[in-house]
């Protein structure tokens, strides 16, 4: 319930901001979600390779690799990039402030469910729970998972392998 109210609040904030800057660039999407909502996103068929990067504002290796993800996404129309934040759901402003400061243009969803043992294996059984970690979903629904920091080159290689 709390997460629903927060999501509505966050959504409203984004909405009003967007309204005030009609001629500005569109504000990036931010919302607080629960695990079933994440699963719906991961299962959605969009015809593109979807990249779900798990990160947090306080995680140095995550913050380091985010520009590479945004760059690879900018260079490739077949990609959809979604950042899944593990930040504290009670402090969404930490994420939205970070997005402005670091120019995050891809959608960010804060997955607000701290009962981690209930869902980590559902993302991928190989995931130990350390972040950064990235889930790749091919258009046909086949998943690949990578735990750890990625360089621009590693990410490029991964994407080209997924396209084979």
């Amino acid at each position: 319930m709390r997460s629903l109210i927060l999501s509505i609040l966050a959504f409203t904030l984004v909405w009003f901001k967007g309204d005030n800057h009609l001629y500005d660039e569109q504000e990036p999407v931010f919302a607080i979600i629960d695990f079933p909502e994440f699963e719906r996103m991961a299962d959605a068929k969009t015809g593109k390779i979807r990249v779900f990067n798990f990160w947090a504002t306080w995680c140095a290796p995550c913050v380091k690799e985010m520009p590479y993800f945004q760059q690879v996404k900018a260079e490739d129309e077949d990609l959809e990039l979604i950042f899944i934040s593990m930040d504290d759901g009670r402090r969404p402003e930490r994420v939205t402030d970070f997005m402005k400061r670091r120019n995050i243009t891809s959608p960010v969803y804060l997955l607000n469910d701290v009962d981690y043992n209930q869902w980590i294996d559902k993302v991928d059984p190989e995931w130990s729970g350390a972040i950064p970690a990235t889930l790749f979903v091919k258009p046909n629904g086949v998943r690949s998972f990578y735990e750890g920091e990625m360089t621009y080159e590693e990410l490029k290689t991964m994407i080209s392998q997924l396209k084979k």
Binding site: F54, D115, Y116, N117, W127, I131, P132, G148, E149
Partner: protein, 208 residues
Amino acid sequence: MKKLTALLLFCVMVFSGSSVLAQDSQGYKIGDKASDFKLQSVDGSWVSLSALRNAKGAIVIFSCNTCPYVVAYEDRMIELHNKYAAMGYPVIAINSNDDKLSPGDSFDKMKERSKDKDFPFAYVYDKTQEVIKAYGGTRTPHVYILNKEGNDFVVKYIGAIDNNYQDASAVTERYVENALADLMNGRKVATSTTKAIGCTIKWTKKAE
């Protein structure tokens, strides 16, 4: 020439061995015997499993100074030690982060943190990262409950402390306490592995 070949072969073996370690990081599974270690604690003493007095086991927690999840759990780690050390299961917190990559996790900073929080448990530095590699720890905090059987320390639980890092009063599953209760009552540990989001270990970069 023979020597050179042997040296090359040795290098290849060492290199492939270490990359296997870094990639699969399997480490211990439930029922494995944990190897002993000898690591220095913040008070200058050296800590090893075999030297624990009156121990029935140990609560080994891969920890650090800089991870918000660890910070959220520090008070609960203190409570665990205060409750279970007297029953034979002391907490041993091990920091394995490379202090070049994470200066906040240096041995001096560990001493400061331990003093500020008045840690009642040993807080030791695994500078070479050999211990965490042997265990297979991947994140902080990452708990391994060991049970002493003869002279062996057998791994009985691997995972999280409980199921709510944000709010200790909202916890519904006390994984570590439940596992210890099972052990002390001679039962099989019902939930022997759990997962949690945690901070990745700051692994020392391999020399090029």
